[in-house]
Amino acid sequence: MFSIDFRQIGIVAGKEFQDRIRNRWVLAVALVFTVFALVIAYFGSAQQGSVGFHSIDVTIASLVSLVIYLIPLIALILGFDAIVGERERGSLELLLTLPITRREVILGKYAGLAGALTFSTLAGFGAAGLILSPQIRLDALFHYAGFMLSALLLGLTFLSLALMLSVFAGDRTRASGLAIATWFFFVLVFDMIILGALVLTAGEYGGAIFPYLLLLNPADVFRVLNIFSLDEVRTLYGLATVFPEALSHPATLGGVMLAWIIGPLAVAIWRFER
């Protein structure tokens, strides 16, 4: 009952990935990422009265602000109807009569969609990185690669959340509503609530747990992960003063992101198997 056939996962994943390639989803998203990255790199300093590429740290800081809105939205749109859509259309029933377990269906769908997201993220930001590479040092390229990897992790966490919503939702309309609500909560509302609580209590309560609360939001983990890797902007954000050193280690934050991927996916599997 609990055995997993990775071949079956691969077949479902292959179909999902191929679907996204075929309907040009991967190409469209990759293009969006490339264009945004280049626009930010060259025109990000326009408000200061100059255009052109200045520094990778500032570019990454600007990209972080953009990606934190864009990637969760793209990942949620990508995954919200993965299960509920097939259930509503009726194709899921036939699929589940085949020699494949529900667990393998979920993992296959996740793997295929994650592949599409990975391909578009790496291709999109990678293309921008290639275009910028003559103007930046090797260690800066390393930072940029770190940013790409963290952006990918951010996407994978929200894709995992999307799949969980897709399993729980009764129909596609509800699933899309839940996906939008999830985006609003993690990207817009969560930080406001925490900041509001800090301001209301004048920092008297919750100051110590504030960094830990940020770990409850993958978007914040992504932000911290990137900001802490950039000396030039760390002091700018003032995060160094409130975030404990032990928590800010990339491995710790990466681990938290992985937990955010595995957790919702595990819940999705549990619910789908019931």
Binding site: M1, D5, Q8, I11, V12, K15, D19, R22, N23, R89, G90, S91, E93, L94, L95, L96, T97, L98, P99, I100, T101
Partner: protein, 303 residues
């Protein structure tokens, strides 16, 4: 149990306070073409889904090919099962051939068999067309080809001729006959009772979550003891002569439609009636005995 390819014992299914299936016992032997009929909401779709392992039974046990549905070796059983849902939904963005490749891969069936199956169901010419361009009948044929992947030992066909034109229905039942000759067991549901009454070996009538009757069409007719109809044609004054020779026999009704006389009478009165009608000699030009249809049997059990 070992000789039954489908064996259900005391199967129930509860949806909250509603019991959709109520203690169903059902046995189907290998090679049988078995029909499951019932009105909408009778519980046959729920029973189908439980047999396929799509939903768990609330109580009772179902074994397919000797293995418990949902049990540790059920995955292997699924490789030997084909299923055609009533409203087959496939992937619009794939071609017919790609669709079969996808299902063949999941069933661990060589892809080379897909082209043969597409030809078999009459879709060879459309193999490279996207499913979104297929008509309802073509989708149904593709769904049937999908169900036949891997030479299944057991086929579940839910309203399989929905959307098919008469020629396709004839082809469909021809393939079913070939499959039965090869020893494939088939369980099918249909609303078109006239279509299946001559084709199934046995059938079960479901009503309100229970199997009300199970057996061959003839056995069910006899068990119901429904009246049969003699249809005779003859010369002028036939009705009066018929009424005269049948006097004293238990006849329910005699109707006249054009040149035909319809005599409705109990099964046990059939032979005495035929003997007496034979005395009419050349006045009688034709005589046909009509058994009650499956529809009559179905409504007989329902009432």
């Amino acid at each position: 149990m070992a000789s039954n390819i489908v064996d259900a014992r005391g199967v129930t299914k509860d949806f909250g306070p509603v019991q959709a299936v109520k203690g169903v016992d059902l046995s189907i032997v290998p090679g049988e073409l078995f029909g499951l009929i019932g009105h909408n909401g009778a519980g046959k779709s729920t029973l189908f889904k439980m047999m396929l392992g799509l939903i768990p039974a609330s109580s009772g046990q179902i074994h397919l090919d000797g293995e418990a549905v949902g049990g540790p070796r059920f995955r292997d059983v699924r490789r030997r099962i084909g299923y055609l849902p009533e409203n087959v939904v496939l992937y619009d963005n794939l071609t017919g051939l790609e669709t079969l490749h996808f299902f063949a891969d999941l069933k661990t069936v060589p892809r080379s068999s897909c082209t043969v199956l597409l030809d078999k169901v009459g879709l060879g010419h459309a193999r490279t067309r996207r499913v979104r361009e297929y008509s309802k009948g073509m989708r149904q044929r593709l769904g049937f080809a999908q169900a036949l992947l891997g030479q299944p030992r057991l086929l579940f066909l839910d309203e399989p001729t929905t959307g098919l034109d008469p020629e396709a229905i004839r082809d469909f039942y021809r393939i079913l006959r070939e499959l039965r000759d090869d020893g494939v067991t088939m369980v099918l549901t249909s609303h078109i009772l006239a279509e299946i009454q001559e084709r199934v070996d046995r059938l079960a009538i479901m009503e309100d979550g229970r199997i009300r009757a199970c057996g061959s069409v003839q056995a069910l007719r006899e068990a119901m003891n429904l009246p049969l109809t003699l249809e005779i044609a003859g010369g002028a004054g036939l009705r009066e002569q018929v009424t005269r020779v049948l006097a004293g026999l238990e006849v329910e009704r005699i109707d006249e439609t054009g040149s035909l006389i319809h005599i409705r009478l109990p099964r046990e009165a059939k032979m005495p009636a035929l003997t007496r009608l034979a005395t009419l000699g050349e006045t009688l030009r034709d005589l046909q005995v009509h058994e009650p249809s499956l529809e009559d049997v179905f409504f007989g059990y329902r009432n």
